[in-house]
């Protein structure tokens, strides 16, 4: 037995005999959350695609499978993971290779989330080992499944606090024929979000809506003729004055937004705020005293906020302003000593915190899986 189990049974034995906390490691690219002291257990030994059916839009992979391997396999059949998983290595200064388990455990979803859904929406089934060492499964590999409780969603975004995922079934989708991005210049954040709302409220099936580094971006994907038509309709309507960009230039824009490249390599802290889109610019303006820098994705509803020189990374102010509007804030990037003292994830109201605690107690009675990562 090692810290890199190669089977579910191996992992189950390891967890059952663990005498202290375990820090679960996928690709090690997402060093987010309160630092966890514990034995590192890697999913690297649980790797490989176990089933791929392009005609059923289904992929089943072991949790430690590198994203790059999945992307390459899907691309051969003209398919992809449509939720556009983020690659935060540049932002967080980490190395390694993203794994599908890590992506699902952190619900890492990119710009297309606004239209197709998040990572959790593409998860069809999961196998995992819980904190008691039980080998469990939920869901399956079909698109529609309401058989019992949906623990698949619960596991997605649980940051390894409920179990170690070993295998995940995913819905995949076709790579569209082409994409075009309409780019607007010179808008304020508030104007940009208005434009984005108008585009998202149009019938033209927008798959990306962002305002970053002074520019407003709206993405259209699909069949050639259809993309041309929709881009033209938007440009002569609600996005008057926007210029089209296609091909690699378009996809580069979205990779940069997805990976929050605007803030890569900068000192300071980076927050991820999920709020009502029209509240985005208002919230950032209210935090003016922190001299923040912001990029907006998801039509304004996903704000990446850069804050410099604040001892608590601006937590008190960010959370006070957010409380007035609703939503949640995660301190994605900050020095480890700050993350050890500032709650990284949004503190929960008492009854919700009780549910969270209750669930974790059932899934991980000894409290050994990534303890403290999501808070107490």
């Amino acid at each position: 037995m090692s810290n890199t189990p190669t089977s579910e049974q191996d992992l189950s034995d390891l967890i059952q005999t663990a005498d202290g906390p375990i820090r679960i490691i996928g690709g090690g690219t997402r060093d987010i959350g309160a630092p966890v002291e514990g034995t590192r257990v890697s999913t690297a030994g649980l790797s490989g695609v176990t089933l791929y059916e392009p005609g059923a839009l289904t992929l089943v992979a072991q949790a430690g499978t590198p994203l790059a391997e999945i992307d390459a396999l899907l691309a051969k059949d003209g398919q992809r993971l449509a939720f556009e998983p983020t690659d935060l290595r540049g932002l967080l200064g980490t190395e390694g290779a993203s794994t599908i388990g890590g992506i699902v455990a952190t619900n890492a979803s990119g710009p297309r989330r606004i239209q197709v859904g998040a990572a959790r929406d593409f998860c069809l089934g999961v196998r995992f080992v819980d904190g008691a060492g039980r080998v469990l499964k939920n869901g399956g590999r079909v698109m529609k499944n309401v058989t019992g409780y949906d623990l698949v969603k619960l596991m997605a975004g649980s940051w390894g606090t409920l179990g170690v995922m070993t295998e995940i079934s995913l819905k995949v989708m076709a790579i569209p024929e082409t994409e075009t991005t309409l780019v607007g210049d010179g808008q304020t954040a508030a104007q940009a979000v208005e434009s984005l709302s108008a585009a998202l409220g149009s019938p033209f099936d927008v798959t990306g809506a962002a305002f970053s580094e002074g520019k407003t971006f709206v993405r259209i994907e699909g069949l050639e003729a259809s993309v041309a038509y929709r881009a033209a309709e938007l440009a002569k309507g609600v996005l008057a004055g926007f210029q089209p960009v296609s091909g690699a230039a378009s996809s580069d824009i979205w990779a940069r937004i997805r990976d929050v490249s605007a803030f890569a390599g900068r000192d300071g802290a980076v927050w991820r705020l999920s709020i009502k889109p029209s509240d985005g610019p208002r919230l950032v303006a209210a935090l003016d005293d922190l001299s923040p820098d912001a990029t907006y994705d998801w039509g304004g509803g996903l704000v990446w906020l850069h804050v410099a020189d604040q001892p608590d990374a601006g937590a008190a102010r960010v959370r006070a302003e957010l409380a007035k509007l609703g939503g949640h804030a995660t301190l994605v990037h900050a020095p480890a000593d700050v993350r050890a003292t500032v709650p990284v994830f949004q503190p929960e109201p008492t009854p919700i915190a009780a549910l969270t605690r209750g669930l974790r107690q059932k899934f991980d009675p000894r409290g050994i899986l990534n303890p403290g990562l999501m808070g107490a």
């Binding site: 409780y149 969603k153 076709a174």
Partner: protein, 477 residues
């Protein structure tokens, strides 16, 4: 089908419990007369009936909370009820339970087009959510067949789907937030106008929990801009297998239809006799619908027709107008009614990997001969969600039992080939005892433990979803 024996101590205290409930609700919101409670004795799974102790019809979250507090204190089971359209017996009462109907919770609370959501009380019907926004060019995507009648509360309880979820997803993919009353009456808020509620995905857990974790009283739902238009093409084949391959090829091609519906010969013949939609008399028929502008629709349909042509169809009928579209959909939409004209029927809901379609259809037809019961298949082929309709005669002794055994065999087959027992109807009481064919003891136990967290006294819809013997000690507790 077995239900737990009613708790005689609760039955004996009926007057006291009714009086307490009346004290927190408006006049007329507690239904306790034995004749009137019969209105709540079953849902759309009419084979099983049992009037409840009483039914309550609260109109606000506070009233729901007050009801729940009383039931918690009295130790009375609560069975939540949306519009009572469940085909799985999700709202079937026991004699010692209080039915909590959400029919009076039907207001629109907030409509926000800039942020693309609507907040409604949960008793509002599915179609009337779209009705509230369609004049402004928006719609709510999940569209179960019962959408005229079914309530959002029930949609959330069962994580309902519909014909168009191939593109737009099911309820869980369109639910942004809920106000929920816990089993002890506490009110919680999860999610809201922002995407992805923070922390553990409790919203995802609640959606599809069949009213066993809490009573959803308000919901924030994602609304979408209506596409410019939609049109279907009808394609007929002389083999189910070939039709299955065609579905696969369309999906692989990268076109994303909003719906791919499948009907087999028994179903086609029944609907023809009933609705006269002019369908070809063939083994299998697909209705494939795409959306967009007229030119976009033409482009997509021509690509689909090209793929279909490679599979030697016996008929291809591309709609060119709203009138033709309606005619193509007419038969499909009247399929259940058509089968109901022939006899009583039971509608199943298993889901299978699309690749297993030909095998499963062949096995169903073999089983149909063995059981001596006819079966028609009409379903959402794009996502493998099957709805076999087994015909039986409710007045013939033994026929219902035979039908149920046949249905159970079909569902076990769905699990065997890599699918599941239910794609969008829910487990309810109907498939409760089959859960062991899909899940091992530990897989079920972890789900029971989830319920322990939300509803420690096991008062919410307690006799559903899980086999009774697996929950017995908890329900007694």
């Amino acid at each position: 089908m077995q239900m737990p024996d009613p708790n005689s101590r609760i039955l004996a205290r009926k007057d006291h419990i009714v009086a307490r409930l009346q004290s927190v609700l408006p006049v007329g919101a507690v239904v306790h007369d034995p004749i009137q409670t019969r209105a709540y004795e079953c849902d759309a799974l009419t084979a099983y009936k049992c009037p409840p102790l009483c039914a309550v019809l609260p109109a606000t979250t506070d009233e729901v909370s007050a009801v729940m507090r009383i039931c918690f204190e009295e130790g009375v089971p609560v069975v939540p009820r949306g519009a009572g359209t469940s085909l799985a017996g999700g709202a079937l009462p026991t004699a010692d339970s209080v039915i909590l109907g959400v029919a009076r919770l039907n207001d629109v609370l907030e409509t926000d087009y800039d942020n693309r959501f609507i907040r409604v009380q949960s008793g509002r019907t599915n179609l009337s959510v779209t009705g509230a926004v369609e004049e402004d060019g928006f719609f709510y995507a999940p569209d179960p067949s019962s959408q005229l009648a079914c309530a959002i509360a029930g949609n959330i309880g069962m994580n309902s789907g519909g014909a168009h979820c191939l593109k737009y997803g099911v309820t869980t993919n369109n639910l942004m937030g809920v106000t929920m009353v816990m089993s002890d009456g506490e009110v919680v808020e999860i999610g809201g106008a922002h995407l992805d509620a923070g922390g553990l995905d409790l919203l995802g857990l609640i959606c599809g929990s069949e009213g066993q974790l809490g009573i959803v009283t308000e919901a924030t739902l994602r609304i979408l801009a209506k596409p410019e238009g939609a049109r279907p093409v009808l394609v007929g084949f002389d083999s189910n297998e070939v039709a299955g391959h065609c579905v696969s090829d369309i999906i692989k091609s990268g076109i994303l239809p909003v719906a791919i519906e499948f009907m087999d010969r028994p179903c086609i013949r029944a609907t023809e006799a009933f609705a006269g939609a002019g369908y070809p008399d063939c083994e299998a028929l697909l209705i494939i619908e795409v959306e967009g502008s007229d030119a976009e629709i033409d482009d997509q349909l021509s690509r689909i027709v090209e793929i279909a042509t490679r599979h030697n169809p016996v008929e291809v009928r591309e709609s060119t107008s709203a009138e033709e579209s309606a005619k193509i959909w007419l038969g499909r939409k009247s399929a259940f009614g058509a089968m109901g004209q022939i006899n009583d029927y039971m509608c199943l809901d298993g889901t299978i990997p699309v690749s297993e379609l030909p095998l499963v259809l062949r096995r169903i037809s073999e089983m149909s001969k063995d059981y001596g019961l006819d079966v028609g298949n009409v379903f959402h082929a794009g996502d493998g969600n099957m709805h076999p309709l087994i015909l039986f005669d409710a007045n013939k002794p033994g026929d219902l039992e035979k039908c149920e055994a046949f249905g159970a065999d079909i569902l076990r087959l769905c699990v065997e080939v890599g699918g599941c027992l239910t794609g969008e109807h829910g487990v309810g009481v109907e498939k409760r005892d089959l859960m062991v064919s899909q899940y091992d003891a530990d897989d079920l136990e972890i789900q029971l433990q989830v319920k322990d967290v939300f509803d420690p006294a096991w008062l919410l819809n307690p006799a559903k979803v899980f086999p009774l013997d697996a929950t017995e000690t908890r329900r007694a507790g």
